[in-house]
């Protein structure tokens, strides 16, 4: 029974709960059994809320018994990355500086999940303040990849992807500043969507790189990503960068999901794909073959500035981070050093003791590139290159409906392999960063396995605010194969 239940997608589970065939309480209990079984080895969660989740589940079941209206995620157990604020537990950002922080409000996405009657089971691990590509920068715990416990789950939303892959929730939210949803989704064999910048409210998301951050779903199927996007997408008065629905209407992303878009033309950048390891190239090549067999045209294009995206990103994101993280001052909330000698030390010692190495490194880099004498050479230059990168996308989308490429040049790497060389770690984001710089939506979907039986992700990118089409394109492929149904040996 429990296996059968856990194999249901969010959509199927929600429908079963709505029809009274399954109780939300049963689904929630099953998820907590999974957590008890696998959390000790995977380490996906920073906190879980069993009592509260069961209470929520009971309330949903009760609504259904009484025939009251229910939400789009009624009774479905989901997890959220621990950089989104909640009022019913801590919001740590996997940082010692926020270890005991209890937010006075819920993030907009949390409000939306609750309004849709989702059951929130816990908060997932991440690289501290979402800075990293392996979740190894978490200041609070270690998460491993359910497919191979000696490897990283990817990052920074590694806890969300690992929890979904190990069936310790039915879906999760992540955040993506330079690939932090897509890369862990790819490493853990799940679907992960970074929506268009401005599609989902960032209110209550702890800021890292504000012009790049975006919240999105991590799920097992494309349909579940569509379902969750239906719940979280839309304008929010409290986020002035969330886009007006008059300018970019939100649609029902599930409605036409199974209809392949007409006249589809895929752009690929051959020189870019050559940078990936052989098994990844092979899987991507085979995925493109699936599209070709469906009668889709594939055209070779160039994106001459794509290769500059990492350099531009690590100047822009760190500059924004250095400003955003200035708020951790040891005064208003968060960690304060126990015995400061003066008020300056309240700042400088609290921050030194509270932040981990990668966060300090990025604050330092960002402060340096914004400092007098270096601003033009680094920060301004990076913003100009950002414009060129966006121009590459504009040009690509004049001739094609979407661009496809790998999510990551490699599959999941070994724990510890890159942690002492920050630049090598940054270079693993080569395919994902450009979407954040240009603001366009991008998805990672499972497209096979390498020779070590580790999942490979296919990345699909489309123009801003065309998530509906992006998901239909992804679904076309998903329908033709079974990759998304494979389970890690750990949980078989």
């Amino acid at each position: 029974m429990s296996d059968e239940l856990l194999n249901l997608s969010c959509k199927e589970l929600r429908d079963a709960i709505a029809a009274g065939r399954v109780k939300s309480v049963a689904a929630t209990e099953t998820v907590f059994e999974q957590i008890e079984k696998y959390e000790p080895s995977v380490g996906a969660y920073i906190s879980t809320f069993k009592e509260q989740a069961l209470t929520q589940a009971r309330q949903v079941d009760d609504k259904i018994t009484k025939g009251r209206p229910i939400g789009a995620l009624a009774g479905v157990p989901v997890a959220i990355k621990d950089n989104m604020c909640i009022t019913f537990g801590a919001t740590t950002c996997a940082s010692k500086i926020l270890e005991n922080f209890h937010a006075p409000y819920n993030a907009a996405v949390v409000e939306r999940l609750l309004a849709a009657d989702a059951v929130i089971v816990g908060k997932t691990n991440l690289d501290e303040f979402a800075m990293g590509s392996s979740t190894e920068n978490s200041g609070l715990k270690k998460t491993v990849n359910p497919w191979d416990l000696s490897r990283v789950p990817g990052g920074s939303s590694g806890g969300s992807a690992a929890a979904v892959a190990a069936r310790m929730c039915f879906a999760a939210l992540g955040s993506d500043t330079g690939g932090s949803i897509r890369q862990p989704a790819s490493f853990c064999g799940t679907v992960g969507l970074k929506p268009t910048y401005g599609r989902v409210s960032r209110f209550g998301l702890v800021a890292y790189g504000s012009s790049l951050d975006q919240i999105g779903p991590v799920t097992r199927t494309v349909a579940d990503t569509a379902l969750i996007l239906n719940v979280i997408a839309g304008h929010d008065q409290k986020d002035s960068t969330s886009i007006s629905e008059q300018i970019a209407p939100v649609c029902d992303y599930l409605e036409k999901l199974d209809e392949p878009p007409k006249g589809l033309k895929i752009g690929i950048v051959p020189q870019l794909n050559e940078g990936a390891e052989q098994d990844v190239r092979k899987a991507i090549g085979e995925a493109l073959e699936v599209y070709r067999n469906l009668g889709v045209e594939i055209a070779e294009i160039t994106m001459p500035h794509f290769d500059y995206s990492i350099a531009a990103y690590y100047l822009i994101a760190t500059a924004e981070a250095s400003s955003n993280l200035a708020r951790y001052d040891g005064v208003h909330y968060g960690y304060r050093t126990p015995r400061p000698n003066d008020y300056i030390e309240v700042y400088s010692k609290s921050r030194a003791e509270g932040f981990g190495g990668e966060v300090k490194r990025r604050i330092m880099l960002g402060t340096y590139v914004l400092s007098s004498g270096y601003y033009d050479a680094y920060y301004l230059k990076a913003l100009k290159v950002r414009n060129l990168i966006r121009g590459d996308f504009t040009k690509a989308f004049e001739s094609c409906n979407c661009v496809m490429m790998p999510v990551s040049p490699t599959t999941a790497f070994k724990i510890g392999e890159k942690i002492d060389d920050p630049l090598q770690m940054y270079l693993s984001d080569v395919y994902t960063i450009a979407a954040n710089l240009a603001g366009v939506p991008a998805i990672s979907i499972p497209c096979g396995f390498d020779s070590k039986n580790l999942p490979v992700g296919l990345q699909i990118l489309t123009p801003a605010f065309t998530e509906e089409k992006l998901l239909r394109i992804a679904r076309m492929y998903e329908k033709q194969n079974q990759w998304h149904l494979k389970k890690p040996a750990l949980i078989k």
């Binding site: 409000y105 401005g198 350099a311 001052d329 040891g330 309240v346 330092m364 230059k381 100009k384 966006r390």
Partner: protein, 102 residues
């Protein structure tokens, strides 16, 4: 090879960032930040003389709303996470020096 950002500069940036770094951290950051800055030099291969900087991807400028009074968090919720408080205030070490006679 010479570090692009030397230890003295690292200390200056650490001061601006309000981060008390250890000597070991200063040494490591000088090396690591230099290698990152060396990598980003590649941006200089691009001619951007006629390119506008792009700080933001969306076509939004100022966002206005009605200036209406709404409910705020209130003192208790605001102070709930304070590392130290004194009644209705955040408590911090003394900032002014008594000896100045001010």
């Amino acid at each position: 090879m010479k570090n692009i950002i030397n230890e003295k500069q690292v200390r200056a940036v650490a001061k601006l960032s309000r981060l008390d770094l250890t000597d070991a951290e200063v040494e490591v950051f000088s090396r690591q930040l230099s290698s990152i800055l060396e990598y980003v030099e590649k941006l200089n291969k691009l001619d951007t003389a006629n390119v506008e900087p792009l700080a933001h991807c969306l076509p939004v400028s100022n966002v206005f709303r009605e200036d209406k009074i709404k409910e705020s968090l209130g003192v208790e919720k605001t102070l709930a996470n304070a590392p130290q408080r004194d009644g209705e205030f955040f408590k911090v070490p003394k900032i002014l020096d008594d000896s100045s006679g001010a």
